[in-house]
């Protein structure tokens, strides 16, 4: 079952990459852009019988390794949901 994990800098944490991308977009003329955050997109194949089982596994993986809760937020999507 495919799991798609999105890891982004936490609200309130300085995100210099997001800030640099935002100012580049603005200098290109996209004046309507704000709140840019640069994060990671991680694709996983998880052996699971149900989507909810895959969800539980994904949550554990995010908390153990894929995201660092001090600086990052995460969310994920599971196939079939």
């Amino acid at each position: 079952m495919q799991v798609r994990v999105f890891v982004t800098p936490r609200m309130g944490i300085l995100d210099p990459q997001g800030r640099a991308v935002e100012s580049s977009l603005q200098s290109l003329g996209f004046k309507n852009v704000s709140g840019v955050k640069v994060g990671k997109y991680i694709l996983l194949e998880v052996q699971a019988r149900t989507a909810s089982e895959a969800r539980d596994e994904a949550k554990k993986m995010c908390e153990a390794l894929l995201a660092n809760p001090v600086i990052e937020d995460y969310r994920f999507e599971v196939d079939g949901e």
Partner: protein, 229 residues
């Protein structure tokens, strides 16, 4: 005192750390391999700088799961002295042996320069050879040294004296310009609540002989050597 320097795949400053401790300081030091589970009876573990596991995912995130890190965590829980320099600091934060995290420099650039640091707490095993307020001149070289922790946690750390080193200017004053990477409160080094685990972004092992441009790093190694149990 018996020291162990952990070599991870991608470690860079392991050799220089061993040189500083063994050749310059004349201490008993050995290299430890990341796959070992034994610390070989050492009294201080040093996690060196570098790019362990290619800094994949996040700096220090993969090294934290090396077999030796289980032993390092147990050693720290038993009160053993652990110092992490640069990537070693990042590993200690990822392993939850130190509070906070290190993330991309504010400038997005890799920084390689000498900085001034003020000793904020000289009553720790890592700084006792210095005096509170002493200035140290040490090199930094990192892309991800911006220290971050939740505001309330930083406040508690300040109250407990866990902020050990801060970036300052040559006159010992804090300023935005003297903060090379944008660290919160210009924090360059922190300890845990028990003061037996210490992490810092500057490199004391690169400042141990006059020909290297300075000897202020010796203060850190002398402090630890003088703290043998």
């Amino acid at each position: 005192m018996k020291w162990g320097v952990v070599r991870f795949p991608g470690s860079l400053d392991d050799g220089d750390s061993l040189y500083a401790i063994a050749d310059v300081m004349g201490q008993d030091a050995r290299m430890l391999w990341h796959k070992d589970e034994s610390l070989g009876g050492v009294e201080c573990v040093l996690l060196p700088g570098g790019f362990s596991y290619g800094d994949y995912l996040r700096t220090g995130a993969i090294a934290r799961f090396s077999p030796i890190m289980k032993s390092v965590a147990k050693f720290a829980a038993d009160g053993g002295l652990v110092i992490g320099i640069c990537n070693g600091f990042q590993i200690l934060c990822e392993a939850h042996l130190l509070p906070g995290a290190l993330t991309r420099n504010r400038s997005l650039s890799f920084i390689c320069e000498r900085v001034w640091l003020r000793v904020e707490n000289a009553s720790t095993p890592f700084t006792r050879a210095a005096k509170q307020g002493d200035l140290l001149r040490l090199p930094i070289k990192h892309g991800e040294g911006l220290y971050v922790a939740p505001e309330d946690e930083i406040r508690q750390m300040e109250e407990r004296g866990q902020v050990i080193l801060r970036y300052v200017d040559a006159g010992g004053r804090e300023s935005d310009a003297a903060n090379p990477n944008g660290s919160m409160r210009a924090i360059a080094g922190v300890a845990n609540q028990r003061f037996n685990v210490f992490g810092l972004m500057p490199h004391p092992e690169h400042a141990v002989e006059a020909m290297l441009g300075g000897v202020d790093g010796l203060k850190i190694f002398q402090s630890i050597a003088g703290s043998a149990r």
